[in-house]
């Protein structure tokens, strides 16, 4: 591993630490984000070259997908589009305006481009054009949070002790010695087939059955099951379906009406996405391996992330102090963690049987649907 690769992975890992910290902050809206994870990007913007920057952006998106478990669902495309487009917009702006713009302006542009591209991709793959209803709210809130982030970034750049060390050419994080987790190939294959079956299935009732089975698999895989995000997703789809009536009117809400066809459409879309998200969660925990430079960078970034999280837990002081402390502690390699490598073959068999059931329901939904 070259020093550059180590640096790339370490910076990517620091974005992961910040996005998981962000995850702990309760949010009233599912789309609302402070964008803490963009802080390291803002700090390195000036000093990093384009190829390294590209890998950092990619690792940030993939790493977040692995930590949140959305990597193998189409929600990942939304976050990938946001990360890449805003990343490049920020870098471009900095190289164009140089000293005539501060981190505040860059952060605002980053948030704006990120929100716009996320809305566009979300409208293409899940929500349809109705999602643009949310544009003013998302963009407006994004401006506020990005100004706050920019101010914080400027202050941290001046007063934090880590950025100075971080930006120096001599900065070289210690290579972690964490063990890698072995990939569970048969689980990966079973889950990829199950994803095909989820995409193939038709109608809300079969998809409900499939979603339940996917949660069973997720439970067996040992990933935490959350009910709030999927319920949020379903209700947002149902609300948006009000704007596109289709079929017999069930109830009217003011000038809008809940219609049978659009409800069925929203449920089908929502349940398919929920099943897919759950499959993605299980797939992440089967430790699939990426090949090539990106693969080894990802493994390195994830182990740095593991160390950073442990360091953060032991660090003391205010939040910026703890982040500073965690970064130093991980870069100096003063703490080593080992991945817990416990796997049971029997649970793989259970997962494969459940995946076969999913395929069965999917085929049945097409035959009798």
């Amino acid at each position: 591993m070259s020093p550059t690769d180590r640096k790339i992975s370490f910076i990517a890992a620091s974005t992961l630490l910040l996005s998981s910290l962000e995850y702990l902050i309760p949010k009233p809206l599912p789309f609302l984000r402070l964008g803490l994870a963009n802080l390291p990007l803002l700090l390195i913007l000036q000093s990093i070259d384009y190829p390294s920057y590209f890998f950092i952006l990619l690792l940030k998106a993939i790493g977040q997908g692995m930590v949140s478990g959305t990597l193998f669902s189409y929600l990942f495309l939304i976050s990938l589009a946001g990360t890449m487009s805003s990343g490049y917009a920020m870098k471009l702006l900095k190289s164009l305006l140089k000293e005539r713009v501060s981190l505040i302006g860059i952060s605002v542009v980053g948030a704006f481009v990120s929100n716009l591209s996320q809305l566009q991709v979300a409208s293409w793959i899940v929500y349809g054009p109705a999602i643009w209803v949310a544009a003013p709210l998302m963009l407006g809130l994004g401006m506020i949070t990005s100004i706050i982030l920019g101010v914080f970034g400027e202050r941290y750049l001046r007063h934090g002790s880590f950025p100075a060390a971080f930006l120096a050419d001599s900065f070289e994080p210690v290579l972690p010695t964490a063990e890698e987790r072995a990939p569970l190939v048969e689980r990966t294959v079973a889950l990829i087939i199950a994803i095909g079956a989820i995409l193939f299935a038709k109608g809300p009732i079969p998809l409900l059955g499939i979603a339940v089975l996917m949660y069973v698999i997720q439970g067996i895989s040992g990933r935490k099951i959350r009910l709030f995000p999927p319920l949020m997703l379903l209700s947002s789809l149902i609300v948006l379906s009000l704007f596109e009536p289709n079929g017999q009117v069930i109830v009217t809400v003011g000038t809008l009406a809940l219609t049978k066809g659009s409800i069925a459409l929203a449920l089908t879309k929502g349940l398919r996405l929920i099943a897919l998200l759950s499959a993605s969660q299980s797939l992440v925990s089967s430790n699939p391996r990426l090949k090539g430079r990106l693969g080894s960078l990802l493994v390195l970034a994830l182990s740095y992330f593991g160390i950073l999280t442990s360091c953060f837990r032991t660090a003391k002081g205010s939040l910026p102090q703890r982040i500073d402390g965690a970064l130093f502690c991980a870069a100096e390699g003063s703490l080593q963690v080992s991945a817990n490598n416990q796997q049971e073959r029997s649970s793989s068999a259970l997962i494969i049987i459940t995946a076969i059931l999913v395929v069965g329901i999917s085929i049945a939904s097409r035959v009798w649907g």
């Binding site: 302006g105 542009v109 643009w132 963009l139 401006m143 704007f243 596109e244 289709n246 000038t255």
Partner: protein
């Protein structure tokens, strides 16, 4: 604290983005409640967005009435009425305009967002 040289750049960016947000608010205000066609039949009320092209079959006492939505307009393609007057009506897209298949108890009415046009309903 001295005024940083980047202040102008930041302000321009913030103003441009705020203007863009303002544009989205304005565009949203122009586009409240997309137009739909309301279909009243013997067995209930149906609603279809005019945005999506589709063909819909509803059933009345005499049989099926086939409605077609295409290019933001709705018309009746075929109906089980004896004289089929409704199939000869030109497609409707203005708020308040309607097509009725009286024998088969089917009434098509457009609701929002295009303003009413008196010529369309003058008979």
């Amino acid at each position: 604290m001295k005024i940083p040289s980047s202040l102008v750049g930041d302000l321009v960016i913030i103003l441009l983005c705020a203007a863009a947000v303002g544009f989205f608010v304005f565009a949203l205000g122009q586009n409240t409640g997309s137009g739909y066609v309301s279909v009243q039949t013997a067995d209930g009320v149906y609603r279809y967005s005019l945005k999506n092209d589709r063909s819909v079959t509803v059933t009345g006492p005499l049989g099926d009435t086939i409605i077609e939505i295409r290019g933001g307009k709705a018309r009746i393609v075929d109906s089980a009425c004896p004289n089929k007057t409704c199939t000869f009506q030109s497609p409707i897209d203005r708020s308040g305009s309607f097509i009725a298949c009286l024998p088969n108890h089917v009434l098509l009415t457009v609701v929002g967002p295009m303003p009413e046009e008196i010529d369309d309903v003058a008979y």
